[in-house]
């Protein structure tokens, strides 16, 4: 835990330094509205990275490339069912969560029972879900607008803190508690650390593995559902932009690709850091080409830094 806190601390300190630097480059970067916008964007990235946190923690080269497609599913089908009104909000949210968990369960079964590599399994599932959404959009032409409540959740603030950020904090704390204080959470970690030992000590590792993909699907679908409040409307490919960044954020946040190590504290800090970095690069007048190159180079730098922190610990 202390290692996770240190990683999180270093990454958060880097984000603050970047924000201060950004204020020199673009005055107003440190303003209240700017910072809360940054945190809102971080919240969505952080929620998608939470999916990866669970899957990575359970090991077996676990990554989930279907979070984007499932997020789009939650957003598009959710908006279609809401029809721009709040009347059935909770029921629709529950339905979307269930749908996401169901899709995740299919991936989990493929990984745990058939032994398909997670990368491939979730990629295949993603293409089916995305394909299904294309058919749904073209045939049903459903309503795509967010409901007033979702717009408030993503757009408004309570006592100065954006609602979605408060939600992120609550979900993040719940995940931290689940992973460290419950028996199932500890089983996920021990399966990732050493599946053989976990199996021999009586853990049902197939069930553990299926459960992390189900949780990932649940979180992804609900994040996509909330995302339409922020974007304003659902569209095909809504969640696609989060797929690879969510994995990158989880790894920079200290999750081991080998499984069993890392904490969501570091991942959440990494989500803020990457968001600040991206928007700082967007404010500098260097053009898209330069931005991409700097982003790639800094990412490699973070990977190297990350390894140093890991070795020190």
């Amino acid at each position: 835990m202390s290692a996770a806190l240190r990683t999180g601390g270093v990454l958060l300190a880097l984000s603050v330094i970047l924000m201060v630097l950004g204020n020199f480059v673009t005055p107003g970067f440190l303003s209240f509205t700017q910072v809360s916008t940054q945190l809102k964007i971080s919240a969505f990235l952080g929620l998608f990275a939470l999916c990866q946190t669970f899957v990575l923690l359970a090991g077996g080269e676990g990554v989930d490339l279907s979070v984007g497609a499932i997020g789009s599913l939650g957003g598009i089908v959710g908006a279609a069912l809401l029809q721009g009104k709040d009347s059935a909000l909770l029921a629709v949210a529950a339905l979307m969560g269930t749908a996401g968990a169901a899709v995740g369960t299919i991936s989990g079964l493929g990984v745990a029972l058939l032994g398909v590599p997670p990368l491939v399994m979730t990629l295949a599932i993603a293409s089916i879900v995305n394909g299904g959404l294309i058919i749904f959009e073209s045939i049903a032409q459903p309503p795509i607008a967010a409901s007033p409540f979702l717009a408030q959740l993503a757009g408004r603030a309570t006592w100065g803190a954006p609602n979605i950020v408060l939600l992120w904090i609550v979900v993040g704390l719940a995940a931290l508690w689940f992973l460290s204080a419950t028996a199932w959470g500890r089983k996920i970690r021990s399966t990732g650390a050493n599946a053989r030992v976990a199996l021999l000590s009586g853990t049902h590792i197939t069930l553990v593995k299926v459960s992390v993909y189900a949780i990932s699907g649940l979180v992804a679908a609900l994040s996509g559902f909330c995302l339409i409040g922020y974007v304003g409307a659902a569209f095909l490919g809504l969640g696609d932009a989060y797929v690879l960044p969510s994995i990158v954020v989880a790894v920079i946040g200290g999750m081991s690709l080998a499984g069993g190590r890392g904490s969501y504290v570091g991942v959440a800090a990494a989500a803020i850091l990457i968001t600040v970095l991206t928007s700082l690069l967007a404010t500098i007048q260097i053009g898209e080409a330069g931005r991409q190159i700097i982003f790639g180079c800094i990412l490699i730098g973070f990977l190297l830094l990350n390894r140093r922190l890991e070795r020190a610990a």
């Binding site: 394909g131 990158v248 991409q292």
Partner: protein
């Protein structure tokens, strides 16, 4: 060992035969010379990039930057002539240099710095994409039409596109009999054992990446010869397609098992699936969905059959 290697190719070969038969049934004039060679010309870029991905996956790594790499090379091909006033040959040579440099960069980061390839090639893909944009912020420019004529030509009745594919597979066959090829497989199968057997694991992986990027270069030439212009987004879809082809081709993502043949079959099968969907008159909105289903079916064959033959 040899029969085992062939066993892993069988599912993809079977799929290829089935999809080809479906394609012929739907489009009887497919088996004419003109139609076959135009299909080969279309599939060649995917086959070549998949061959590159296959070599990297056989070493137990993954390269998410091949697609952006194809874009970068395509933009270099279309920009260098007007930027430096070069003819076709110096442009081709310089672009080959860029490809080797990209492969060497990935190889150094993965092999010598030991960074996870999944994440680090995502980072380098941003860099390649940035370089592509620097060469060509907007789609456009032009590539010497001689490249297109060369690509459409044939030697002794064999289209150049097919020769490119044969070269890729031929190179792999030579490599397999060469110590480096065996070392690539050994490093992918069990790096610790390879290390104890006296193999310089890092040097092998580094060279493997450089060889793979020679194929990325050929793939980029093949696609550029068809479009004859530069587009920084042209190559991006190749990343995921090449991974899918490799997996359908029965190459283990854990490394060490499979062959470039499988990836070539997988890539051609994926291309034929698109043909079948088109000629079956299935509305375009269903394409993505059916493609996903086909990949899933191929996957389950690969895993169920593959398991049985190995266990």
């Amino acid at each position: 060992m040899r029969s085992l290697r062939h066993a892993r190719i069988l599912p993809s070969l079977g799929m290829l035969v089935v999809v080809f038969a479906m394609n012929v049934a739907l489009q009887p004039d497919l088996i004419t010379r003109a139609s076959l060679s135009s299909n080969v010309a279309t599939f060649a870029p995917t086959v070549l990039v998949s061959a590159a991905q296959a070599i990297i996956v056989l070493m137990g790594e993954l390269d998410l930057s091949v697609g952006a790499g194809v874009s970068m090379l395509n933009c270099a091909l279309s920009t260098l002539p007007e930027l430096a006033g070069w003819g076709l040959v110096p442009t081709l040579a310089a672009t080959f240099g860029i490809a080797l440099a990209a492969g060497a960069t990935n190889g150094a980061l993965v092999a010598y710095l030991g960074l996870p390839s999944l994440i680090v090639t995502f980072a380098t893909s941003a860099i390649w994409f940035g370089v592509a944009l620097a060469f060509r912020p907007q789609p456009g420019g032009s590539i010497d039409p001689a490249l297109n004529e060369l690509y459409a030509a044939s030697i002794a009745g064999v289209p150049i596109a097919l020769i490119l594919i044969l070269i890729a597979i031929g190179l792999w066959s030579i490599l397999q009999r060469h110590p480096l090829g065996r070392q690539l497989l050994a490093v992918g199968g069990n790096p610790t054992a390879a290390f104890h057997a006296g193999i310089d694991v890092r040097w092998v992986k580094f060279r493997g990446h450089c060889i793979a990027w020679c194929f990325v270069y050929l793939g980029s030439l093949a696609i550029s010869a068809q479009t004859l212009s530069g587009d920084s987004r042209l190559g991006l879809p190749y990343t995921l397609t090449s991974v899918a082809a490799v997996v359908i081709g029965g190459i283990s993502l854990a490394g060490g098992r499979g062959s470039v043949w499988g990836a070539a079959f997988g890539a051609i099968a994926l291309g034929l699936v698109a043909n079948v969907i088109y000629f079956a008159g299935i509305p375009s909105i269903y394409q993505e969905f059916f493609k996903g289903i086909v990949i899933c079916i191929a996957l389950s064959f690969t895993f169920i059959l593959g398991r049985r033959t190995i266990e």
